[in-house]
Each structure stands twice: as C-alpha cells, then as structure tokens.
Amino acid sequence: MIRIGDVLVSQGEGGVYSERMLAGARVWDPFRSKLAALYYAGKGVELTADMRVLYLGAANGTTVSHVADYVEVVYAVEFAPRPMQDLLEVARRRKNLVPIMADASRPEQYAPLVEGVDLLYQDVAQPDQAAILARNCAFLRPGGHAILMLKTRSVDIRKTPEEVFHDTIADLATAGLEVVESVWLSPYHKDHAAIVCTKPGRVMSHE
C-alpha cells in the first residue's frame, strides 16, 4: 500500500468524489471508506498491480475507485439503480473497472461475466452477509483472500455487536474459510468490523 507519511493514498485520476490530493496522489479517507479504515486499524491485504478483484456492494464507486488504482481489474457488483448511475460514471473513466448490475446474493446470474479472482471484497450490509460471501467464494482462487465488512447492526439488532462478530467468524470457518485477521473499525466506523480470510489450497499463478 502506498503511504505518504501516515496518509494512505492511491495513484490515479482524482476528482471522483472531490477527494483531497496529496503530492499528486488521491488521499484515501478511512472515515469515508471501510477498506481504508481496515488499512489504518489493522493489516488488511496488500493490493498489487496484478490482482483481480471481485467487489460486492460497490455502491457509488468511492472505495472501488481507489481499489482500481492499485489492481489490474475490479469486477464491481451493485444492485440498486441510483448508486449504479454513479458507479457507471466512475467506470467510464477507469478502464480496469467492470461494472455489473446484479444482486450479490445471486452469483449464478453474473458468473458468466466474472473470471477467477485473487481478492473477494464484500460490503453489502445484509443479514446473511457471511452466506453471501461463502456463495461468492466460487470465484476466489485457492490461496486468495476474502475481506468481509461486517455491519453488525444490519445482521441482528437484538444481538450485541460482539456476538454478531463471533457468530460471523464461526460461520466463515464453517464455510471452509480460514480467518486470518479480524478487527473493529472504530474509531472510523461505529459497530463495523472487518474480517480477512483466506481460501485454503495451493496458490496458483495467473494464466
């Protein structure tokens, strides 16, 4: 990850959401982006130039645009028409961004579009977040990483955030993923946690 001093940045064309620029690079604000918060609060997954990423819950393309600055290609899945309009606008100017309008809980509908990926990132704020991630692991190469952004308040409001957090980690383990890092995103995002997993198996290189 590129840092200027303590500030996380990405190299790319600015002005996506009037983000601050620093020495020609785009400042990646942890208060706006949960992925940026993960890089501040924990270790995260190093984004590299040869990476292929499947991004579920792309929304307005704020975080997606930063990810696209780092990696080879991002398949960005979003379901709602309103944010999709913004995402298309971002994708028009970033040639390594493939915008897909589909429901992240129905991978069979976009499977004919997406190749195998090295990183699966999910931020969909649904009650069955872990199940959606597990279903999409079909796209993830063995040895690849999956990052789940857990909005505990969307999963079950009756449970405490900690309970939801532990239950989700258990669910992911049951789904055959190895949890390598789990951190709360405070103070950047309240009641949000990031869970980083790997898919067991032999690491294969790109064809």
Binding site: V98, P99, E108, P112, L113, V114, E115, E207
Partner: protein, 287 residues
Amino acid sequence: MQSYWFGDVDGEVCTPFTGDAAARARRIRTLRATMDGFIPLAWKDAVACGVCSDRSGYFSALRDLCFAAAEQDIREQYAGKDTELLQMVRTLDGMDEMINLLSERVAEWHQVRHPAFSRKYHRTPAHVLVKSISQKQRGALGRVAQQVEQLAAARTDLAREVSSRANQVMPNTSALIGGLVAARLLSNAGGLLPLSRLPASAIQVLGARTALFTHLRTKSPSPKHGIIFQHRRVHNAPKELRGKVARALAGKLAIAARLDYFRGVLVPEFLDGAQARIDRLGAGDKP
C-alpha cells in the same frame, strides 16, 4: 457445456456469440450458471473463441456489454410508473416542511422589526401574514417572504400533479382515500409493489412508526392510524369509532393496492362495496 458472455464453451470447442453489446446484454440475462462445482471462466477462452485478441480487447468488449446491460436495467427500473410519483411526493413533503419553517421564521423576524405587532387575537393564518410581509417589507425580509409565497404556489401546482398522477398509477387506492394520501402511503411503503405486499394491519399504522414501536416496547396503547388519519373518513369519525373505521379502511386499502399493482385499472364493483362499508361504519351502524 458452459455458457459465458462471449459464447458457449463445450470442452475444446467454443461457439462465439455474434452480436453487438446490446445483443450480448440481452443474452446475458437468460444465462444462469450452476454454482455446484463451479469453475470460473478463463479469459483465454474468449481469445480461442475469436472474440478478442488480447486482454485489453477482452475488457473492452466485456465493459461494453456491462455498460449496455446496466443502462438497460436502470432504464427498466425507472420506467415503473410509481418511480416518479415517489420522487414527486417526497418533494412535496419536503416543500411543506420548508414553507412552514420559513413562514414561521419570517413571522418571527417581522415581529422583531415591529415591536407593537402581535399575532394574538388576530388568528392570521401564516400564509396571509407572509403575503402582507412580502408586500410591505423592503429589503431581504420582503424578498424572502416573496420567495416563500412563490414556493407555496409551486407547492400547490405540485400537489395537483401528485394527485392526478396518483389517480393514474393507483386508481383504486386513490378512489378510496384520495390521490394525495394514496401517494403518501406509496412513498412510505417505498413503491407500489412493496405497498401491495403489506398486510392491512401495517397499512393502518403506516406513518405512525414512533407510536408503534413505543407500543411494542412499553405498555403504551397501540396507534390506531398513521397516514390514513389524513383522510376525512377517519379524522371526521367520532373518536370512539375512529379505530374501527381506520381498521376497515386499511383492510380495503390493502385490497385496493393489490388491485392497483396487478390490474392497474379501476375496479368499480370492489369500490362500491368498500365505500359503502366504510361509510356505514363511520355513521356508527353495525357492520
């Protein structure tokens, strides 16, 4: 055989799909992959298929398809007749809020300029006061008052449009409860489809969220009505009958919303019975 966006792959043989991005976008909707034992596509198959020659060509073709598909999807989602009505009602409610807020503010300001002025015993409605301020006051205060008046005029136009649009989009619901209130129900439910899926009990208290959850949490009495209180049959009914009328009206509204969603035309035989029943209840007769 596996079907991908660029064609069908069967073992070593690939049959490319010929057609432009729009045709590919239409085809992609019909494709469903089986996720059991699923193996993601390999982009080199597309090269073997003759769809593209290199990786940048692959992305360029794939992106064209994805843009076409997404734009088509967005267009279809917005084409629903209720989508614009939703925006119109929410704008109307926003304008109401602004007009009330600014009228009050202007009146307060006016009072400071004129120490002898008081609204006590005058019963001047806010809009009349705003009008007189806009005519008499100079400077920013007069200008703001003028703007509030214009906003109020635009609001009246919008309300008329909302009502007539609601009559088209939800004819049965509008016939029962009036276009404006019907549109507010629609806005609260989030659309015609969600509204048609609500049970009558939910429609009855739509818009009374705070009271409902206070009731569920504590021992406070349950709300009898939400938005539907705005309808004359409910608020004109004697207090002890209001709950009864609201319940019956909500029941009929639930049916009306389903008629609106699935048939989309006025159903007179339903409406006659429904109107008669609610009128009977409101008059205090036994059902």
